[in-house]
Each structure stands twice: as structure tokens, then as C-alpha cells.
Symmetry: C2
């Protein structure tokens, strides 16, 4: 196919580039992790992460701008500001945990600490997995990239096409 192809992120409508726009910068995910760990003040992030002040300032601003953190004056001490997760920020937890678990599985020699546990039974959570609409666990082998326009079509046609392709 000799046709000049447009960049993937312009032809394909995908949330990934957008997510990376916000969260792809160097310290963003580590700040997010710290926020999930309960940190909320500027100086807390500063000493926990070992990040430069101006960079932290810049990142916090961007995270607030993008609605991932909200910035509120601290009621007890009005010099302080609280950076807390919004719903949008909290919704990044699956992505964060998936990354964390991957890192643990492949690149961590020592066991991670602390561990994320279920408050019901205080046992570690399970691995983040891909599931069908009905909850069946799926592997990457079970997945296809389907054009949205044919989402309504019945499955039989698609299966036939798969079969045909496999035989060719």
C-alpha cells in the first residue's frame, strides 16, 4: 500500500493520546500516587518526591487545570493549600494500579510496600484485568479492534469473516 498515511492520532479517535497529554509528563503519576497516599500539601509532595519546587508548582497547576486535583485553602491553617483528588483524578486509579502491578511483576526485585488491600478482608487486591461486558476475563488474544460503524452487526457475520481469513 503506497498511499501516504496520516498520523495515527489524527485518523484514529483514541483516548490514549489525550490521557497522555495530561498524565504523560514526568512527575504527574508520582504526584497522583502521593495524592492517593493521602498527601495534600505542597511541602508534603516536595519532600516525599524529591522534586524541584518550580516543577512541583508547575505540575500541580496543570493537574488542577485539567481537573485531576482540586486546590482548596486549608480551613485550619490558611497559609496552607490542599490539593485533593477530584472524581476525575480518582478515576485514574485503575490505570495507576495497572502500571504499578506491571512494574512489580517485571521490574521490582524486592516486594512492594505498602500493599493495596481490600478494607473488607484486608487482603491484597487482585490483578487489574481486561473483562468482557459480562465480566468474563479476557486475554489479549480474545480482543479485536472493530470499526465503530459495524458495532451493531450480528456476531455470526464477523465470525464467518474471521474463519475465512484464517483459511486464506
Amino acid at each position: 500500500m503506497g498511499t501516504l498515511r496520516e498520523p495515527l492520532d489524527k485518523v484514529v479517535a483514541c483516548g490514549l493520546p489525550q490521557a497522555l497529554e495530561v498524565m504523560g509528563e514526568r512527575w504527574s503519576f508520582l504526584i497522583l500516587r502521593a495524592a492517593f497516599n493521602g498527601l495534600c500539601h505542597f511541602e508534603e509532595y516536595l519532600s516525599a518526591l524529591g522534586i524541584a519546587r518550580n516543577i512541583l508548582s508547575n505540575r500541580l497547576s496543570k493537574l488542577v487545570e485539567n481537573g485531576i486535583l482540586k486546590r482548596e485553602p486549608c480551613p485550619e491553617d490558611r497559609r496552607k493549600v490542599e490539593y485533593r483528588l477530584t472524581e476525575k483524578g480518582l478515576d485514574l486509579l485503575p490505570a495507576l494500579l495497572a502500571l504499578k502491578q506491571w512494574g512489580e511483576k517485571y521490574t521490582l526485585t524486592e516486594l512492594s510496600n505498602p500493599v493495596v488491600v481490600d478494607s473488607q478482608d484486608w487482603l491484597p487486591i487482585g490483578p487489574i484485568t481486561i473483562r468482557a461486558h459480562d465480566g468474563r476475563e479476557l486475554s489479549y488474544r480474545d480482543l479485536r479492534w472493530q470499526d465503530r460503524s459495524r458495532l451493531g452487526q450480528n456476531a455470526d457475520e464477523e465470525r464467518a469473516k474471521e474463519k475465512e481469513k484464517a483459511e486464506a
Copy 2:
């Protein structure tokens, strides 16, 4: 390459900084997505992503170095090289999809296309979620960060502590 750079991984024992060390760079996740989409040749990535040659070269090398892609000469055309996902790379799919879904939910105006579907019924996959060891779906409210040393302890003690805290 992080010689002068402050290491991101000395804070706590967590897989996240390690994961970001490998996947946190600017084009890594987009290359990964392209690989999941079936691209495998240098020039394919180049035109699909609109990335500079040297940067692509650098990123591919790093991804290979880190065991996320494997580099193999193409049997049909031995000028060509195939960059294909390893198991380790395939295992990044939950993280990739979690990010993608988050991006779709919050920052995408138009509907995404193509859609990831289950090959069984050709319906879109469900959202990536957090689950307990037994498969119960959990929200961030159900999670605690527990020190590894007390993982063996029985749950009652922990529940009592929670209650106590809530009453204080």
C-alpha cells in the same frame, strides 16, 4: 540514561516508578498502542506516529532493551526488522486500556474508533476495574494502603482500628 536525573524509584517500594522509567517517556505508550494495532516495521511506526526517525530509533531500542518489544529479522524480506510485543509487553495492555478508557471518558468529545471488542460476541469490552482477590469489584473507597508486615494479621483487629479511628 538517568545519570544526573533524580531517580524516581527511591521513595517507597513501589512498581510505579519502575514502570514509568520504562513507559513514562513521551512516545513509548503510543508506540505500544501501534504495536497492539499490529504494526511491526520501522517505517510503519514512523508514518503512523509522525515521530522523528532518531527518536523512534531511540525509543524502539529502549523498548527492546527493556524486554517490551523483541526485534527480529523479517523472514520474507531480510532488510526489514519486525518489532513485536513480548509477553512483558502484552502484559501492559490492561494499563494501556485503562488509560485509553480514562481519556475517552473525560477528554474525548467524539466517540473513539476503532473499538476494542471481545472476539466471542463482538461487543465492546467492559471498563477496566479494581477487584478484590475473589473478583468483587472495588471502588477507591474500599481500598487501604497496608504495611506488608501486617498482611498476615487477622481482619478483626484491623476493622476495630478503623472503627476507632472513625469515632475519634
